[in-house]
Amino acid sequence: MKVSIANNDGATTIRIEGRLDTVAAGELEQALAPVYEAGNPNLRLDCRDMEYISSSGLRVFLKLKKHVMAQNGVLELSELRPMVKEVFEMTGFSKMFQLK
């Protein structure tokens, strides 16, 4: 998995590539520590190249969602790969993230 974080236009863009499995979820958690500290309420999640997600990954997404909601920010989620989308739909995350 590869994570890259960029700040522009008042929003923080988090780009996740590759497989977000249980091990990668731990790494992502650590990588997101600056985001939580910066306190920028508006987040953009670019998951177009994320091939896989496990429940640990979902947990990270839930944490981000709660964080944004607490800041009254906006969380934007990009297009999802089919596998990831399927998992989102199974778990109700698709509703949570207002996916079409």
């Binding site: 091939e51 896989y52 496990s54 596998m83």
Partner: protein, 774 residues
């Protein structure tokens, strides 16, 4: 062999000689016999004639004496007593006469009684005595010697008789009637002769030592006989009445009839010749009886000697013949010995020397020639054989090399359960122009079958080239068409001079999907055997054989093989096999034969088809290479089972991806679905790694297995008992703010997998995850 030949020759010579002898002897003896017989007849006749002549002579002399003395009796008629003196003188003068009488008719002299007959005779001592015959006791009136002349008036010889009261002996009497001056018959003048004398005379005939004579009187009475008791007492008829041979009766009749002759008589056990002749004077008949064996004694003797000499001669001839033949055949024996030695290969065997330019000499020359010719022929044969052996050995090696090029070890892929393949290649000659080859590359089976035009070494060379090219080219080309095009280019470029071409069928079978891509270059279309259907030819474009046009655009085709479909590839050595009637085996017979082979393995199909075509061909010679390749795609009920053991370290889950994806691929789970399965497994494993052992070290074992139409994962650990199925499901309908961390993992496991089961086995937790395969 030679012994029997000489024995046979000896038998022929001796036998032929013996036959000649027998024939010659028969003729000689026949002539000798008739000659001797004639001689005997002459001799007996002469003797008889002589005897009769002598008897006649004696009788004649008696008659003459009586006739000459009759006048003296007439002179003394007046002095009856002086007649004694006349008679005495008469008897004295004729010593042959034993007695003489004058008998007067009854009452001629009154004083001399009724019968007066002065009689003068010699007594036993030779003294001359006189007597008067006419007594009362001796009445001569009835006696034959008196009565007959008195009755007939002619002289008469009486039948022999024993004169009782007269001469007292066996005698015969000549009686001459006496007439007086008035020509009146007054008495008879008689002369007696003793029969003893006659007997002596007759018996003096002795033509043969044991011959005997007999004489019979006018009534058939024996007068002379070698058995004296028969004389006067028996006739020839009474004596021979009991004889089986009736010839004697005939002889008797002939003799009485005064005939002359000869008869053969079987008397008791002796064969006799009887010669007989009459004595005219008295009407008697004389016979000589000669035993046959005496007449022919000399002939018999000669015969015995001749036979004896002939036998000895034949024996000697046989011995001499044997020696001569052996002598002649001796070189032959040595020739036979030499021939045997020559036959054993000793061409320097010595031949017997030939002394003469005869048949043996010619044979020797022939043998000499044969020896030389054989030696030359053997040398030539040895050379030819050596050459032939070298060629054959080279061909054998070539055949071994060629056979070594094609895969011959069956089953070729023992570790694979999804493909059954068998092939044979039977060259018509030592080396052939057929080829087949196959190998698996990248889960694909690449195979080829081909037939080089022509046969023998040129074809085999091109076959070797083609097969090597296929191996080299095939792995670097993606499609069957590319393989064929490349082969065509390679063969056509290097093969312009010989104008040979190759028909080929190249196929690439995807073992996972059963997809078959194939390219046919002028080869016989393969047969597709599909369960539940009749065998049929795979639809094929024919294209053209390779090696003809360098740039020909070959076209590829494709189809999909279902599990248990079988593809049979073959060369025209199968369909164009001929039987004795020059009929072809043909597609029709092949398909009919295959129709009965459904459900059989690749090997069984190939071997059964080979037997079928062999039975069809019968004794006809195989005139083309025969190659068959059968391949069958099999239902992969692979008992797939994989196992992975991990530590309770979260990093270990990185090992799951390969493991789960491989299991999914082998079970035919699509890659999209495989990701979800991986997710479920990962969640379950993560759960165990995180919670089962607390802070202790432990391990997790994961087994993946196919069971029927399900892919089953079993996760086991020795941690504290925990049944994930009892954990309440996370409520996925809640909004984010109400959501709890956790619970999602197990929720996903249950949603993704078809079935999730937990059990505690001993100190192990066992979680079973099943995913139905679509």
């Amino acid at each position: 062999m030679t012994r029997s030949f000489s024995a046979r020759l000896r038998v022929y010579v001796v036998g032929f000689t013996a036959v000649l002898f027998v024939m010659a002897f028969y003729v000689i003896f026949r002539f000798s016999y008739s000659f001797i017989r004639e001689e005997a007849v002459h001799r007996a006749d002469a003797l008889l004639d002589n005897t009769i002549l002598r008897i006649d002579g004696v009788l004649g002399s008696v008659e003459t004496a009586v006739n000459n003395s009759a006048w003296a009796v007439g002179d003394e008629l007046d002095r009856p007593d002086s007649l004694y003196a006349v008679l005495t003188r008469f008897v004295e003068r004729n010593p042959i006469i034993s007695g003489s009488a004058v008998a007067f008719r009854e009452d001629f002299y009154e004083d001399k009684g009724a019968y007066y007959s002065p009689y003068v005779f010699r007594d036993a001592d030779g003294q001359i005595r006189r007597r008067q015959l006419g007594t009362e006791r001796y009445n001569y009136r009835k006696k034959e010697w008196f009565a007959r002349p008195m009755q007939t008036g002619k002289a008469h010889w009486s039948e022999p008789y024993y004169d009782t009261g007269g001469g007292e002996m066996l005698m015969t009497t000549y009686s001459r009637p006496l007439y007086d001056a008035d020509n009146r018959l007054y008495g008879v003048f008689t002369a007696d002769i003793s029969l003893a004398w006659l007997t002596e005379l007759v018996n003096s005939i002795h033509p043969y030592p044991r011959a005997y004579n007999l004489m019979i009187g006018r009534e058939g009475t024996y007068i002379v006989h070698h058995r004296p008791e028969r004389i006067l007492h028996e006739t020839i008829f009474s004596a021979t009445r009991n004889m089986t041979d009736s010839t004697t009766q005939k002889i008797g009749r002939d003799m009485l009839a005064g005939m002359r002759g000869m008869e053969v008589l079987q008397n008791d056990d002796t064969l006799s010749y009887v010669f007989y002749a009459p004595i005219e004077t008295t009407g008697w008949s004389v016979a000589t009886v000669c035993p046959r064996e005496e007449i022919f004694a000399s002939l018999d003797k000669i015969q015995l000697w001749v036979v004896l000499i002939a036998c000895i001669g034949l024996i000697v001839l046989g011995l001499v013949c044997g020696r001569i033949i052996r002598h002649i055949l001796n070189p032959l024996l040595r020739f036979a010995g030499a021939a045997r030695q020559i036959a054993e290969g000793n061409f320097s065997a010595p031949l017997p020397p030939s002394l003469h330019d005869d048949e043996m000499g010619q044979l020797r020359d022939a043998f000499e020639y044969m020896k030389k010719a054989l030696a030359a022929y053997m040398a030539e044969l040895r050379q030819t054989t050596a050459q032939k052996e070298r060629i054959e050995s080279e061909l054998r090696i070539a055949s071994e090399i060629q056979m070594g090029m094609i895969p011959k070890l069956f089953p070729p892929f023992p570790e694979r359960k999804d493909i059954d393949l068998y092939a044979i290649l039977k060259p018509a000659k030592e080396v052939g122009g057929d080829l087949y080859d196959f190998f698996i590359h990248d889960e694909k089976l690449l195979f080829v079958i081909g037939d080089v035009s022509g046969k023998g070494i040129p074809a085999s060379l091109l076959m070797a080239v083609t097969r090597s090219l296929f191996r080299t080219i095939a792995v670097h080309r993606d499609t069957a068409r590319d393989i064929v095009v490349s082969l065509n280019r390679a063969v056509a470029d290097g093969n312009n001079e010989s104008n040979m071409f190759i028909t080929l069928f190249v196929g690439i079978l995807n073992l996972g999907t059963g997809e078959l891509a194939y390219c046919n270059a002028g080869h016989n279309p393969p047969v597709l055997l599909r369960p539940g259907q009749k065998p049929c030819l795979l639809p094929c474009l024919s294209n053209i054989p390779i090696g003809v046009f360098t740039d020909f655009e070959f076209e590829e085709e494709a189809c999909r093989l279902q599990p248990d479909d079988m593809l049979l590839l073959y060369t025209d050595g199968l369909t164009e096999a001929e039987n004795e009637a020059k009929e072809l085996y043909s597609d029709r017979r092949m398909l009919a034969a295959l129709d009965n082979m459904r459900g059989m393995s690749a090997q069984d199909v190939v071997l059964a088809l080979e037997k079928s075509v062999k039975d069809f061909a019968g004794t006809a010679e195989q005139n083309d290479d025969l190659t068959m390749l059968a391949l069958q795609l099999k239902q992969t009920e692979a008992p797939m089972k994989m196992e992975l053991t991990m530590k309770n370290d979260i990093e270990e889950i990185l090992r799951l991806e390969d493991f789960v994806k491989q299991a999914c691929t082998q079970c035919g789970v699509s890659s999209d679905e495989a990701e979800m399965v991986l997710l479920a497994v990962e969640e379950a494993v993560t759960n165990v790694i995180r919670y089962a052992y607390g802070n202790e070290e432990g391990s997790v074992r994961l087994v993946a297995e196919r069971q029927g139409d399900s892919l089953v994962f079993e996760l086991s650990d020795c941690g504290r008992p925990f049944d994930p199925t009892q954990v309440p499901e996370a409520d996925v309908t809640l909004p984010a703010e109400e959501r709890q961390e956790g619970g999602l993992g197990l929720f996903l496991v249950k949603r993704i997998m078809s079935e999730v089961r937990y059990r505690r086995a001993g100190n192990e937790n066992r979680l079973t995850l099943m995913k139905q395969i679509r």
